[in-house]
Every structure is written in C-alpha cells, then in structure tokens.
Subunit: 149 residues, 2 copies
Amino acid sequence: MKNIRPRLVGLLRQGYCTPQIAQIAKQLKEPSTTIHYNIKRLEEEGTVRLYKAVFDYKQIEQGFCCYVLVNLSPGEYGNPERIGKDLAKYQEIESIDICTGDWELVLKVHVKDQDAYFEFLKNVISRKGVERTKSLVSFKQLKSEFVPV
Amino acid sequence: MKNIRPRLVGLLRQGYCTPQIAQIAKQLKEPSTTIHYNIKRLEEEGTVRLYKAVFDYKQIEQGFCCYVLVNLSPGEYGNPERIGKDLAKYQEIESIDICTGDWELVLKVHVKDQDAYFEFLKNVISRKGVERTKSLVSFKQLKSEFVPV
DNA sequence: ATTCTTAATTGAACAATATTCGACTTTTAG
DNA sequence: CTAAAAGTCGAATATTGTTCAATTAAGAAT
C-alpha cells in the first residue's frame, strides 16, 4: 500500500485540475476549439487563477469549521499583512482578510475537531502581535467555496 | 462575437473541471492507472465534491468582498436553515454558515463595488426574518478558497 | 502459519479529449 | 472605408483518460 490518498488530496487542494473543454462545448453548444480559445485567454489574462478540487471536509479530517476575528496589538496594528501572510501558509486556513471594523483580521479555519481547534488557536493563531481573538464556530455549513453543501 | 466568457465563467465557477491524472502521476512518480484508481475512489466515496476554477474576482466584476454577520428576528431565530438555504442560490455569496455566538448567520459576499454591495444588502440579504446585519469589509484578501492570493 | 477474500497496483490496448494549425469571419481603430 | 487585431471553427495530430486483465499486497478466519 502506497498511501496515495493524502498526497493526492494535497495536490488537488490547490491545483492539478483542468477544465473539461468537451463537456463545456457540449453544454454551451459551441465548437470545442472556440471554448479552448476562450479558456486559454482567461488563463493568460489571469482571470482564472487555477483549477482545484472541493472536498467534503468531514472526510479529510477537517470537519470543524470556525471564523476567527482577530485584534492585533497596538504595536502590530499598522502591519496586518505581515501576520496575515505568515498565517497564509497553514493549510487549515481557508481564507484571510484584512478588514474594517472592530477586528483587523478575519480568518476561516478548518480543523478536525474542537480539540484540534483549541490547539490550533493556541499554537498557531495566538502569537506576538495578536492581542485577542473571537471565535464564531460553524454549526452547519450551507454553502462553501461558492458551492451549496 | 458570441460572448462566450460569461457563460464559461458561470460553468467553471461550480464544476466542469477534472483532475490532471498524467500531471499528478508525474509529480507523485506513480503510474497513471494507480492515480486514476485512487481518484475514482475519492469521487465514489464523496470525498471530492467537485472540481472547479478559482478566479481573480476583480476581473469578473466581484472585486468587493465582505463578511456579513446576521441576526435573525425572534420569530426566525430557531430556523436559520430556511433563510440560509434561500440565500445560498445567489452566486454573489461565497459561503453561508450557521454559527454560535452573537450572530446566527455568517455570510461571505463578493460583488462589484461598494454601490453594488449596498444594493445587495438592501435587496437580497435584508428580508423578513433578518433583524440586523453587521458588515466587515475586506480591505485586502491574503488567502481565499485555501489559495494564497 | 495457511488459506481465502478483498483491496490496491500496474502495463497494454483502446477511447476520448485537448491542442495545433490554417482559413475564414467579425470587430475595432484610425 | 480600410487595415489590423481579435474571435470563430473544422480537420489533423498529440496527449490524456479509461478499461481490462493480470499481479501483488493486506486483512480475516480457521
């Protein structure tokens, strides 16, 4: 047994997919070469960033989902990008936004369960520059990544 | 001119993509039939929901991004699913979660600009059952859909 | 341990799809 | 109105996905 699954999931999370030109052509009732031409243009212009898989996160050990509202400490207040970009490398984090309002950063996090979340909050999110966090735990996801669940 | 682009974007947003078996096989240094077998299993088990494109949302008229914290009115308080599922059909909404804490629903919305957001908030999100909303406007996205920007 | 059953891996043959090319058409700018 | 650029599309080719059958590995039961 080669344990292909986790490596596969790792790649499909962030790319290694491609549009189905023939299927799209059929659906739109246009020649596949026309579809091909238009897709390449979208890619060259950077309109399409990449193609990737959307998972049932419960099945890949990421069934616990949570929004994290973050306050930065006065010293880091003017520099949310540094902390945000460093957090970006964690695959548990779906999104990071620098926001207006009462919190400087808004994160969306996926981990296995509540225990894993506690550890993640303690070990990864809490750090120098992060003053306070507020967690909004998702009971149920109705839509995610533009896809209704 | 056939105006292929918007129709194409519409399809690629929610599917019409597929994994690149040959590329994955090369990357993982495994035979492509082995990769094929493992991918089909992920699909059959429902671990992979679908394959889709991730866009530069500024380039598809959705450059304005915002989190919306929603309070439901007392009458709807016990039934966040009805409102959430109805909202799910709008393609401007990236995600909808039923949450713990001070707000029953958390939405993430992408529209063209601030004016469009005002209209969307007024015409779509505000409705019977929605008592109050709080908007956290994203100044800058550092990560989105698990992909660093 | 040994057998049996099921799951996983793999190469070869085949089917389907993507890509290139060139001709033609449409759009745009001056 | 004209020339250049962008878009459409069929035919040929290159690449990739899929099926199949054989082989190996893993797990369960006696």
